[in-house]
Symmetry: C2
Subunit: 330 residues, 2 copies
């Protein structure tokens, strides 16, 4: 993982501290999901390859450092556990999301639902979330288990709200943001709160890092929604253009439908309908339909507007940290 991104020289000791923590996070996840039953162990090994940039554990470790975890000793066991728990919850949601999205590819490998069927994917996701709860209730403090349970409810509520608005062409920005706060912001916020808590941070520090995480999480999801429209499968590493095909309206489209004339709005809706119906069509058909949608989004500057919104949220996220003591982690 070393060298995945460049950091200024003054941050190199912190980077080394995080890398050491991440190696232990991986070990902890493996032992927490391990099973004596060969069939279960094999499935857990399969989903290990879903691990990508480990953004959530990294944010958890950094939140611990920002809340005062000493940089001259390795990350504490409780901090490593917190980082492992958020990644396990995330992996469980990936396994279940792939069923929802009917996705065939995840990080360049086949998804569990494709390889072993939806049934196995449902129960494997349940197993991973149970392992996450078991791990977080193993520490000598009830706070992490309470945070993880509450956040899991928020996360599912966001997903259910999104499913309830499938094919809703009148989805408004307020509901879109409510969905994103639930399905993405909540868990990234938990990284901040759990990391700060494991490092002994007080409530204002926990809240500041949770708020930072929640805002960054929503910004990240907007970026992800933009990439779903524009991205390149080789870069994003998952099946693309899924949102439109599954009737999900995302920020660029909501912005567009709010800013076109009534006549153009109807033309855009017809384009979206065409794209929704290409579920079983060839990649070329899908590309044609996607390019049509991208052209109309461009006309109203809607991709740029979504990007600006994500940037605004990142700025707001940084504001949440202004009262924290200065540190490399901050």
């Amino acid at each position: 993982m070393r060298g995945a991104f460049e950091v200024p020289p003054e941050l190199e000791p912190l980077q080394a501290w995080v890398f050491e923590g991440l190696e232990r996070v991986v070990d902890r996840m493996e032992s927490a999901t391990g099973s004596d039953i060969p069939a279960v162990a094999e499935l857990c090994r399969h989903v290990e390859r879903y691990r990508g940039k480990m953004l959530r554990p990294t944010l958890t470790l950094l939140s611990g450092a920002a809340a005062g975890a000493p940089s001259d000793e390795p990350p504490s066991d409780d901090l490593v556990t917190a980082a492992a728990v958020v990644e396990m919850v995330h992996m469980a949601t990936l396994v279940h999301d792939d069923i929802l999205d009917e996705a065939a590819i995840r990080r360049g490998g086949q998804t569990v639902n494709t390889l072993r069927g939806n049934e196995t994917a449902v129960i494997l996701g349940d197993y991973l979330i149970a392992a996450a709860y078991a791990l977080c209730s193993s520490v000598d403090d009830q706070a992490p288990a309470r945070v993880v349970a509450a956040v899991s409810m928020e996360l599912c509520s966001g997903e259910l709200l999104q499913l309830d608005n499938r094919d809703n062409r009148s989805l408004d920005e307020a509901t879109y943001f409510e969905i994103l706060r639930g399905k993405t912001g909540s868990l990234v916020g938990a990284c901040g709160r759990l990391g700060a808590g494991a490092a002994g941070g007080d409530e204002p520090t926990r809240l500041a890092l949770e708020t930072y995480g929640r805002r960054v999480g929503v910004a990240f999801q907007i970026q992800d929604d933009v990439l779903d429209l524009q991205g390149d499968q080789a870069v994003v590493g998952k099946t693309l253009g899924q949102d439109l095909g599954k009737g999900k309206l995302t920020l660029p489209l909501i912005h567009h439908l709010q800013h076109v004339t009534q006549r153009d709005r109807e033309a855009s809706l017809r384009l979206l309908d065409a794209l929704s119906e290409t579920g079983d069509s060839t990649p070329t058909d899908q590309d044609d339909a996607s390019n049509g949608v991208l052209a109309v989004l461009d006309a109203t500057g809607s991709i740029a507007a979504a990007r600006r919104e994500a940037e605004r949220l990142v700025t707001e996220a940084k504001d949440a940290l202004q009262n924290l003591p200065d540190s490399p982690a901050r």
Copy 2:
């Protein structure tokens, strides 16, 4: 619920105590799954009707009484919480099992997967399990959360082992029992342990009631597997003959395949294959195929053997309680 079963007069005070507890369990489940999001609240109201005989909360309350909960005051808050948690975990598994089983009917109503799609059923089950974890981590003791998390892992492991053995015509009894201990015994065992724990029972008492629950749970599942072959949809209240159609070999069939001659074994396997292939056929076709299977099972006395095994487990379950002090609840 009153009058659902007859009890001798000396048990009537205990029955009244349990009924009072169950009413509070229902309230606690409703407040634990409640949501400000109308779409989520509506789904939770839908699954409320899955509540049947409330066997698991009843066993939890009775375990509390057997472990010393005073019968002259209402069940304690912690005991009611424990009973609500096990039923919520059970309901989450029902929602996910209906996806696995492609079941259309549950307790006379449509399943979530049929009504709202598999995606919603996946996430609603996740929401219910998260609410169960949130509720059990709300009490002032870490033990219940640890039990519920560990048991959820066991439960999923049993289901994964079952999925891994789908269409395995050589499934042996040892693996069948390992599946049942995981997918059914573990949660019923948790009723005993959590009920005893909430009532302040010591470790031998908790273990005795857990062991009782585990054995009764496996016996109950054998009975359920027999009913799947023999039952009447109006009585069982769910879609029938699912196990064979989904390639699940259950105890009567395992017993039969072990006890027929090699030549009859091949004829039986052809019958099973025929039944597995009738997934989309008419109810009459399915009845014909089922009747054929029932006839060969009868020839080896395999239904009776499965019933005897369930009875033996119930006797063993009662043995686990022999060191508990005598009480109406015991």
